[in-house]
């Protein structure tokens, strides 16, 4: 048995998600290779070689793989997959974009968002926005799956695995990168932050989200939002936590002015400690919060900031 893990990149560097996917692969057993695909990604490959449990790192570094477009990446994976029993990627927008192409071209099903490994062919995954957990068994010869990173603790970095080049180059005349607009922030990434503070419709408007800044600074927290706040136009969609946004599981999650719709809970209920601040003491968010504080967020937030 051997497993290929497609590395996640963030602006050309190895993203933290990869260490979680390797952890999932370790639970399945077998040799683990990490595949790094992109242009100018040697540093990412060297970072991947440090991850515990990795047998070797394979690097496909070519202009055709720049920006990790789905068409050439899918074609490359099809070329490489025959050496493996499992191909894994994180359930990031890249993993979700590429892996189903591999599965389809190999005529196998894909299992999305696995959160637990029961055995090498049986896995748990959330369905209905995490309101039910399915145990599924795959009898396909090649198992293709995306891994929800919050389900697995990251492996350490004490390894020194060999790095080898993959020379396979594919053609791509169908898709072309035009531009990327990435939100720039000094704060930690939502998916990987130890502390997340999110605002909801109760924040009133986008300007009021600044009330979260001081607390986020003190706690080194990422700032998130509910879908209601995004739909109301307060903040951009990349801040959305929930079924239709990011799934997070930080050590501390602070929900401010968020009522607790099912779709939001699906994105944060695996957080270790949840704090809810809301003026409505009947808000469903209090049913999942470890600590609830009923009151006016416009009074509570400045006080909280001063007392941290």
């Amino acid at each position: 048995m051997s497993i290929l893990v497609l590395a996640d990149l963030h602006e050309g560097q190895l993203a933290g998600a990869t260490a979680h996917v390797v952890a999932a692969a370790k639970e399945m057993g077998g040799d683990i290779d990490v595949l790094v695909v992109g242009e100018g990604v040697q540093a990412a490959a060297e970072a991947a070689a440090k991850l515990d449990g990795v047998s070797k790192v394979r690097v496909a570094d070519n202009a055709v793989y720049a920006h990790q477009l789905a068409e050439p990446m899918g074609a490359l994976l099809v070329e490489l997959a025959d050496d493996y029993s499992h191909v894994l990627a994180s359930a990031s927008t890249t993993g979700k974009n590429v892996l189903p192409r591999l599965a389809a071209l190999k005529d196998v099903s894909q299992l999305s968002d696995i959160i637990a490994v029961e055995s090498a062919d049986t896995f748990k995954r959330p369905i209905y926005a995490g309101n039910a957990i399915a145990t599924v068994k795959s009898d396909d010869a090649l198992k293709v799956m995306t891994v929800r990173t919050t389900g697995f603790d990251a492996v350490g970095e004490g390894n020194n695995a060999p790095v080898e080049a993959v020379d396979t180059v594919v053609e791509n005349s169908q898709s072309r990168f035009v531009k990327e607009e990435l939100a720039t922030s000094d704060r930690p990434e939502l998916g990987g932050a130890k502390v997340v503070i999110s605002g909801g419709r109760g924040m009133g408007n986008g300007e009021n989200f600044k009330l979260l800044d001081g607390i986020a600074d003190k706690l080194d927290a990422a700032i998130g939002a509910s879908r209601a706040a995004v739909d109301a136009g307060f903040v951009p969609n990349d801040m959305q936590v929930g079924q239709t946004g990011k799934i997070v599981a930080p050590d501390l999650y602070i929900a401010v002015g968020i009522s607790g719709a099912i779709q939001h809970l699906a994105g944060m209920k695996d957080s270790k400690v949840i704090v809810a601040i809301n003026k409505d003491d009947e808000a469903p968010i209090f049913q999942v919060a470890d600590y609830g504080l009923v009151g006016d967020l416009f009074e509570i937030l400045p006080e909280l900031e001063s007392k941290l």
């Binding site: 068409e71 189903p100 389809a104 959330p126 969609n237 470890d290």
Partner: protein, 249 residues
């Protein structure tokens, strides 16, 4: 050009789901069903392309039980011109749906296929990408903007950390994200008119596709309940609890 749009019948997104007592699946008896929200966005986008004169015909297709015709009629009421229902009572995985849609693409030769990025029941997020791979067409997934320009389309995609724009040659496959548009509601006269629009009924066998999958569903459980904690009376008490009880500060 023709635009093909795929729709799925799923549990209404407002309904709280129940797991069956024998843990075999989620209980869908007497539950309100609706068009998958991401598919509504796909239909809306297709109809807008027709209103702009970019699309000449909008064809809605659904794979599922007989009742899925309700969702196809909704698509017709929203502005689709005709519908294809591929009827089956089996549990159809993304791969089989993609294979069936690939056959429809072969027959209809659309310039653009628009699908929801995922269905809110199985949350797979696979069908559009699989369809693109099987048809050999480029894909623009998780779209928040779609701009057709001659024989290519620019798709702005919602990716982790921001937005990415790709240019695809047509024909192409697009999957919708939430911010692409705000779907309209069907008006009563349009609902009446939709009843007279053509709806073809086919079966997977008509397309020579076997829908059985090698993935078996062993068990469905409710997630571990998170029990609510305590209400604190003040910010001081909250900070104290976080420091000394939860030890997260």
């Amino acid at each position: 050009m023709k635009v093909l749009v795929a729709v799925k019948r799923v549990i209404d997104y407002n309904v709280k789901i129940r797991v069956k007592a024998d843990h075999s699946d989620v209980d869908l008896t007497n539950v309100k069903m609706a068009m998958n929200p991401f598919c509504e966005i796909a239909v809306e986008e297709a109809v807008r392309l027709k209103e702009k004169g970019v699309a000449t015909e909008v064809i809605a297709v659904s794979v599922g039980p007989k009742a899925a015709q309700e969702q196809l009629r909704t698509a017709l009421a929203l502005g689709a011109d005709r519908a294809i229902h591929i009827e089956t009572d089996e549990r159809v995985e993304s791969l089989a749906v993609a294979k069936l849609l690939a056959k429809v693409v072969e027959e209809e030769q659309p310039g653009l296929v628009i699908l929801g990025k995922q269905a809110i029941d199985t949350d797979n997020n696979q069908t559009g990408q699989m369809l693109a791979a099987l048809t050999g067409l480029p894909q623009g997934t998780f779209a928040s903007e779609v701009a057709v320009d001659g024989d290519s389309v620019n798709v702005t995609r919602e990716i982790d950390g921001g937005l990415q724009t790709v240019a695809l040659t047509l024909p192409a496959i697009v999957t919708t994200d939430l911010r692409l548009n705000e779907p309209r509601y069907a008006k009563l006269p349009d609902i009446m008119k939709a009843k007279k629009k053509p709806l073809d009924v086919k079966t997977p066998a008509d397309y020579g596709i076997e829908v059985a999958s090698k993935v078996s569903l062993l068990k469905v459980e409710s997630p571990p309940e998170r029990k609510g904690g305590v209400k604190v009376a003040s910010v001081d008490e909250l900070v104290d609890k976080l420091k000394n009880e939860a030890k997260v500060l």
